[in-house]
Amino acid sequence: MTINQEQDEIIEEFELFSDWMDKYENIIEIGKELPLIDPKYKIPENLIKGCQSNVWLHPEFEDGKIFFTADSDAIITKGLISMMIKVLSGHTPTDIVNAELYFIDTIGLQNHLSPNRSNGLLSMLKQMKMYAAAFQTQESK
């Protein structure tokens, strides 16, 4: 699946829920599928410190594609990263660098996440794109 197909799948899934509590249950469900980061990578360099919860993110570069693993101390945050990883993981650095993430907006999260969370999402996305950009230059050498 392309990045956009992944996004569309998530959007479709969320259309099933109208109540916010149900949407959150779904986010938490998705969190359970998160490819967990190897504890040995839970080091300060991999920490994205949010205002209220922490995220550890680790990229692996394999066969021209990036695979992310991650974890968080908060379960909703875990769900959110899990969605991000679902969308971006397993794609080429170039695809990731160029990706436009619209699913967050479309499922209405942008407006309903607490500002700290959406800032957190943004820093997460930024971090993932930075890794992708780094592997891109590495590749082109």
Binding site: Y24, D73, A74, I76, T77, L113
Partner: protein
């Protein structure tokens, strides 16, 4: 015991309490962060802006005269509310943080020297830590801390040994914003004064809940914020004893705080103006005055009784939730309940409460050292005002249960 308040009538004074969020009735339990404003406060500010908005003090015309009178009238209301000996001991600031910075800077530059120390407590808000860190660093002084125990109670037995002759000022909070502890301010002041050490009280979480009589306390400085006592944002108060305020150098320079200015020499104005540089927040001060009138009209006694009932009821009902742990278990407490649910990140719980229309606060509440002490990332904090109801607490409890079912 029944409340003295006609709660429906009281709630009608606060239009925001009628708001809906996500289509649900708002349950506002974040009063420790900021309180809602009664109509009388909004009306006073609106009246000011539509009828006599003007710059103060220097004006020859009627609007300026009216604005000046109203501004000074508010100062008198504040002075009366805290029973200051003189209204010129009341300095209008931007808020608690601004007031503490003023004292840290002005008192610190005058009295704090290398080797000296400032004594704070283990449960201070960042606003009563960082200003002291900054001035201590500048002056080569050290910051010392009165420790607390596992219940969130200050270890007063350690106070005598901490109050050595290097301590130039004790600054601590009346009520902890993250634990709810009411500190024994009178006793701390007594001991400090016994060693001739002045005391500053952070009253940000006390002024709206507890009678604060600066003369009875014999306290040297207190600070509080208007927005936490039903007044506007952007205005706060520093009370200081005349002798200290006169002895301290001014904090900010500018219009109104001077008597005469030449490029060579400037003569500072008398109190309170010496500490009020620039155009003051006249509308904020008027709003704060109206807020104090409002509190007086309800009666701080009635407020205390109502809030005490809410707190007891809240503690009782929350205790029934499986896996709940209270952070802060002092006997003497006020205003806030901090708690955690086993296995649940406070942030997750806060977010799912929000989606049910229930506003609480999560995180470190600007008291990171308290969180480090308890070894936790943060807490969930419900904080009450007299306009809250037991039904709202029931909704909170139900909301927590519903969220927990999803989160665990």
């Amino acid at each position: 015991m029944g409340s003295l308040l006609d709660i429906a009538k009281v709630r009608a004074d606060f239009p925001l309490l009628d708001t809906k969020v996500y289509g649900k009735n708002l349950v506002y339990l974040d009063n420790g962060a900021t309180t809602q404003k009664p109509l009388s406060v909004l009306a006073a500010v609106e009246e000011y802006y539509t009828e006599y908005n003007s710059n103060v003090h220097r004006g020859v015309h009627l609007l300026s005269q009216k604005a000046t009178s109203a501004y000074e009238e508010s100062r008198k209301k504040v002075a009366a509310y805290i029973n200051a000996a003189h209204s010129y001991e009341v300095i209008f600031t931007k808020g608690t943080t601004d007031a503490i910075n003023l004292v840290a800077s002005s008192f610190g530059r005058k009295y704090l020297n290398a080797g000296d120390s400032i004594l704070i407590s283990a449960m201070e808000h960042h606003s009563n830590i960082v200003p002291w860190q900054m001035i201590c660093e500048e002056r080569g002084a050290t910051l010392k801390v009165i420790p607390m125990d596992k219940n969130g109670v200050l270890q007063l037995d350690l106070l005598p040994s901490l109050l050595d002759d290097k301590v130039k000022l004790v600054s601590f909070t009346y009520v902890s914003n993250s634990l709810g502890t009411i500190n024994p301010v009178k006793e701390v002041i007594r001991q400090a004064h016994g060693k001739n050490i002045p005391v500053m009280i952070d009253a940000a979480q006390a002024i709206q809940h507890i009678p604060v009589d600066v003369q009875a306390l014999d306290v040297d400085f207190i600070a509080f914020s208007g927005h936490k006592i039903y007044g506007p944002m952007g205005i706060g108060v520093l009370y200081g004893k005349e002798k200290w305020l006169n002895a301290m150098p001014p904090y900010q320079g500018g219009g109104d705080m001077i008597k005469t200015v030449t490029f060579e020499k400037t003569i500072y104005n008398e109190l309170p103006y010496k500490f009020e540089a620039g155009t003051p927040d006249v509308s904020g001060a008027i709003g704060l005055g109206a807020a104090i009138d409002y509190v007086n009209s309800i009666g701080l006694d009635a407020i205390q009784i109502a809030e005490h009932e809410l707190l007891s009821y809240g503690l009782e009902k929350l205790a029934e939730i499986e896996g709940i742990q209270f952070i802060g278990n002092a006997e003497e407490r006020s205003g806030v309940i901090s708690f955690l649910l086993e296995g649940i990140h406070p942030y997750d719980l806060g977010e799912l409460l929000d989606k049910q229309g229930i506003a609480i606060r999560t995180g470190h509440h600007c008291t990171e050292p308290v969180m480090h002490f308890f070894g936790i990332p943060g807490t969930c904090r419900a904080s009450f005002a007299f306009y809250n109801t037991k039904e709202e607490i029931d909704l909170l409890v139900a909301g927590i249960k519903r969220a927990a079912a999803i989160l665990i």
